[in-house]
């Protein structure tokens, strides 16, 4: 076989021409969407639905040609892939991502007249499609170039910063920005509440998960029962679990005045925290258990041979070796908790979910976005950040264990 490979073959000439079909497909879909769908829409006020505007209408011929030109250049680059071309393409994708908020500024300049102070600019179908397709291209390029995760996280944060600055200083008409300015204090308070609830519940479930997993390793019977209970908890829908905490906690608070003075009651943070911890325990315990079990017996034997005591072996050998998988569990738990905390708004725990449910109630979609987008971004940040951390902590020459679920 090796000899065959070494021989020159007549097919080589066209075989080397392998376009990256992924990028070509993504970029062509983007180009078609840009010209077919509405890029932005303008509505006279908060409730009335908007009037759509296409690419040329929103950005003028110059802008439309500029965007299409960059896209076509990227497509040409991906026809002849190579490390250098991929790097250029990555710069191009970042450039497009950076240009997107400026496109909005141009559109608001052209479409929103100054005599309509209530007018709002909404991002249209094509705009969202372009954003998601560009991010897909970016993921593809990252994978092809095999860039480490932390770099790319930093790059995306840079892009996000530019977006943020544009939205704050130059885009008065953007609906999302208006909604944000109207609820500035409320937003930051909700964000703080959200993050606090998530981090406290994750911290508690790390502690509880570690102790439960250690108990499970000692008592085999306990393991069966505990996994059974945790699995059953997981089948109860999250909103029901939040709801089911209402009664018992209200009763407890009524029985012990001390608890109610601490802020424990049927609604609010206390039931939310309990339900979050209950829901987070299964992924946490499962991953902790797997993490501690997968440490190879030979390594532990070697540690014993070196004269380490039991506690030393646990803290200096087993735990550090288990850390990457353990972090994987923390990542899954945190991402899940960020989403679940949104549901906790239903029982008055606050957080960003409050915007979602208020907005849904008032049919004010900008407000829904104001709640949902930050939750999405928080989840992505937690995912990428903790993922990068476990990459760093993973010993160099071990294989990445298959996604332990």
């Amino acid at each position: 076989m090796a000899l065959l490979d070494a021989l020159p073959s007549p097919q080589m000439a066209w075989r080397q021409w392998r376009p990256n079909s992924v990028l070509v497909v993504l970029l062509s879909v983007m180009l078609v969407a840009l010209w077919l769908f509405d890029v932005v829409s303008v509505s006279p006020n908060r409730i009335v639905s908007g009037q759509g505007a296409g690419l040329v209408e929103a950005m003028g011929w110059l802008g439309a040609l500029l965007v299409s030109g960059v896209t076509i250049t990227l497509m040409l680059l991906s026809l002849q892939p190579g490390r250098q071309n991929y790097q250029v393409a990555l710069v191009g994708v970042c450039l497009l991502l950076l240009l997107m908020p400026f496109g909005l500024i141009v559109a608001s300049d052209r479409l929103v007249s100054s005599d309509m102070p209530q007018a709002r600019l909404n991002m249209g179908m094509a705009y969202w499609l372009m954003l998601s397709l560009l991010l897909l291209c970016w993921i593809e390029l990252r994978l092809r170039l095999a860039l480490p995760r932390r770099w790319t996280v930093l790059m995306l944060l840079g892009v996000a910063l530019v977006w943020w600055l544009c939205a704050m200083w130059a885009l008065e008409a953007l609906a999302l920005g208006q909604e944000f300015r109207a609820r500035n204090d409320e937003f930051w308070r909700a964000l703080r509440q959200h993050i606090t609830l998530v981090s406290v519940s994750v911290a508690i479930s790390i502690g509880l998960g570690l102790s439960l997993a250690m108990l499970m390793r000692r008592y085999a019977n306990f393991q069966k029962v505990a996994f059974g209970v945790l699995n059953f908890l997981q089948t109860i829908p999250s909103i029901a679990l939040f709801g089911l905490m209402l009664g018992p906690l209200a009763w407890l608070a009524a029985q012990w005045p001390l608890l109610s003075r601490l802020g424990v009651s049927g609604i609010g943070w206390a039931p939310a925290l309990l339900a979050l911890v209950a829901y987070s325990l299964l992924p946490m315990v499962r991953n902790t258990y797997i993490a501690l079990e997968q440490v190879s017996p030979e390594t532990l034997e070697a540690a014993r041979g070196m004269g380490m005591r039991n506690s030393q072996r646990f803290w200096q050998v087993r735990l550090p070796l288990a850390l990457p998988v353990l972090l994987e569990g923390i990542r899954i738990t945190s991402v899940q908790a960020i989403g679940l905390t949104a549901v906790a708004a239903l029982i008055g725990a606050g957080g960003l979910g409050a915007f979602i449910f208020q907005g849904l109630g008032q049919a004010a979609m900008d407000m829904v976005l104001l709640g949902a987008l930050p939750i999405l971004i928080l989840a992505l940040i937690a995912d990428a950040g903790l993922g990068a951390l476990s990459d760093i902590l993973r010993p160099k020459n071990t294989v990445r264990p298959g996604d332990a679920q």
Binding site: A240, L246, L373, D383
Partner: protein, 258 residues
């Protein structure tokens, strides 16, 4: 262990397992038909409310609607997920493999509530947004398991099938898919079980299903309503999960005895 003994032990275990779906199903039916008459029982949980039995819609109707939503999402995820995984493991689709596996794992990062909320402006209130959210949330386990299952098929087995003169379509249908089936089925099981309980949040955007009693209970502070919705959903999830377990058991025993 000889093949015969193995298959016998598998069937013996199979018989033992067979009772679980039946038990859960009986309990589920007892919940659905029994709650309207369980006034006294529910009053223990909620002594102060004037009404403890959820009466805005019958639990049976809600159960059917719940199952419809979950099955619609399941059909889309199973067909889409398995097809995508098959395409990216073929020679001509291999280019897409890294992106698809990356995106599939990203899908579960999106919280279903956020997806639901984002889908409402585009699709309006009702059943459609919750189906979108479930599809996005349920795709990862199916794609991941199908990819894993197909990639784990022994290279030599595939070469053997090619050597026997099978076309690539025949290899896929008669060799790769049957060998990967248990793993794929495990993915489908995870996806559907998760989605049965996730579907309840659809009630917040006007999709009427078993989440309705739960939301009504939270809004009115009525624990009895919540218990009715939650217990029915949990039992539905357990029934479906144990059915899948049976199915996996049968598939495995067929693979071993064949």
């Amino acid at each position: 262990m000889s093949h015969d003994a193995l298959s016998r032990s598998l069937t013996a275990r199979g018989v033992q397992q067979a009772k679980w779906p039946a038990i859960w199903l009986v309990l589920l039916m007892a919940c659905v038909w029994g709650f309207p008459y369980a006034d006294g029982l529910l009053r223990i949980i909620e002594p102060d409310s004037s009404q403890v039995v959820y009466q805005r819609a019958s639990l049976a109707t809600l159960l059917v609607q719940h199952m419809l939503v979950v099955s619609a999402a399941a059909v889309i995820t199973v067909v889409g997920g398995v097809l995508a995984a098959i395409v990216v493991t073929r020679e001509w689709g291999r280019n897409f493999l890294p992106l698809v596996s990356q995106v599939a794992s990203l899908g579960q990062t999106f919280p279903p509530v956020a997806v639901l909320a984002l889908a409402v402006p585009a699709l309006g209130f009702g059943t459609l947004p919750i189906i979108v959210a479930l599809v996005l949330y349920g795709t990862l386990p199916i794609v991941r398991n199908t990819l894993g299952g197909l990639q784990d098929v022994d290279k030599e087995v595939k070469s053997a099938s090619v050597a026997m003169g099978m076309t690539s379509w025949q290899t896929l249908r008669q060799v790769e898919l049957p060998l990967a089936a248990p793993v794929i089925l495990a993915g489908i099981r995870t996806s559907i079980t998760i989605n049965i309980s996730t579907a309840a949040i659809g009630a917040t955007v006007g999709a009427s299903n078993l989440g309705d009693p739960i939301i009504a209970g939270i809004v009115n502070g009525n624990m009895a309503y919540i218990v009715q919705g939650a217990l029915t959903i949990a039992l539905l999830a357990l029934t479906v999960d144990s059915l899948f377990e049976r199915l996996q058991e049968r598939l495995r025993s067929r693979l071993y005895t064949a």
